[in-house]
Subunit: 233 residues, 2 copies
DNA sequence: CGTTGGCTTGAACTCTCTCAATACGGGTGG
DNA sequence: CCACCCGTATTGAGAGAGTTCAAGCCAACG
């Protein structure tokens, strides 16, 4: 744990130095962007950590592009992915002085990083910001609640159906086709299944005409939203 | 859903009326009690709802005594208990206007209820309160994260071991003996198991000398904390 | 064109669930 | 004070969803 902490902390200043004085391109404007003007842009390569379990929680992050997974590990290697964060999402807030989970780049990622101390003082000054932040954390909590129902009480089929509909909603709200950024192992560790079960359920759904798979299983086409919704329980 | 909403909303003013002008006895003083001075005391009998899924989220609650379970239901009756709240815990904080889960009294409960709107303005005025509240929500979120690991990746034995150690910590931090306020069905729905599995694992732990059971299985004596800790993963 | 990483498929196994019977305990009424 | 009851917990036997282990496949890449 110590080694991980050190290595990641060491990595971060390096990234800062690299991009040092570059002016961060203005991301698409959203209600809470006021919060996030002036953050430091940081690129994280696929598979690299944004922060690790045990790291000092000095920064809060907002995703510019790419996908981040936040996960917990059991000592024997079992993994649970609590959530996937997509462009626009805020993460890293969920902690005390030290992070209690690891955030890794699922694909190549660009984030904006904000010093937490500066942030805290900002929050002190602005009740509006405070409120926004609170809302963001509470939203995370509600997603966590939904995910607990999924993990504790849904069948493999239902888990996959929920997952596909949820990702479709976030990745391509209008369309019926989208590309999953993560691989089967990530999906499995998010849903509390094995990769084999994920694969089997997906092929069965394909046979049942609910979905179509393409591009090595990464592209999903929803052919029967209704059918999936029924499985969604 | 409508019927539940109405009935519970109707219940609440009644409770207020009943206890209307009674001066709430001052609960044991804690750091964040400033937040909760002036709340309305409300008793909830075992099995009754504090609020239901779909109710207007007008109040925030702090437990004076007793145990509350907050749970979600699937349309076919499957249930997931997200958390048990004990004396001193805050619950009912939502980002939306409506509750997204149901809070029920596990045993006879007394809570303090606070109008959310009044609360919000209080928070506006006091950064300190805001910070305390934030801390409380973040703590909930971290417990949720831990629980997701449990639900998604732990075996029945490990789930029960985690649960017992956790409850021991909260109910009797020093002692090795404590009474579970909830029944097997609640434990099962909290851990993503069936009551039979809960019972079987407990019996096995008893045979293994890890615990002792008494009082119809409600009293637990930890005989081998180390052994449980090892199972805890 | 061989290697690599990720995905799929198959067959056997096992942990947990399901269904069903039995036991326990606290409260009530005779 | 005992007998009965009802809700809750335990125990048993059989079934099944999902896992495990192992092999095969496919596309990307050097």
């Amino acid at each position: 744990m110590q080694t991980i902490t050190v290595s990641t902390n060491a990595k971060f200043p390096a990234a800062l130095a690299l991009r040092g004085l570059a002016v961060p391109p203005r991301p698409q404007t959203q209600p809470d962007d006021a919060l996030f003007s002036g953050g430091v842009r940081r690129s994280v390569a696929k598979g690299e950590e944004v922060f690790a379990d045990g790291d000092a929680a000095d920064y809060i992050y907002k995703i510019v592009s790419g996908t981040v997974r936040s996960c917990k590990l059991l000592n024997d290697g079992r993994r649970q992915i609590d959530a996937f964060h997509l462009a626009g999402d805020i993460f890293g807030l969920e902690s005390t002085a030290e992070h209690r989970l690891t955030a890794e780049a699922v694909d190549d990622v660009v984030v904006l990083a904000f010093r937490r101390c500066r942030f805290d003082s900002l929050v002190q000054d602005s009740p509006a910001l405070s409120h926004q932040l609170m809302t963001s954390v509470i939203a995370s909590l509600e997603r966590a609640h939904d995910h607990m129902v999924l993990l504790g009480r849904k069948t493999a089929q239902e888990k996959i159906a929920s997952f596909l509909l949820g990702m479709a909603n976030r990745l391509a709200p209008k369309a019926d086709r989208f590309d999953l950024p993560m691989q089967r192992a990530d999906i499995a560790d998010h849903l509390g299944l094995t990769i084999e079960t994920v694969s089997r359920v997906l092929t069965q759904m394909m046979r049942d005409g609910l979905i179509k798979l393409a591009a090595a299983g990464r592209t999903i086409v929803l052919q029967n939203r209704m059918g999936l919704q029924e499985l969604n329980a």
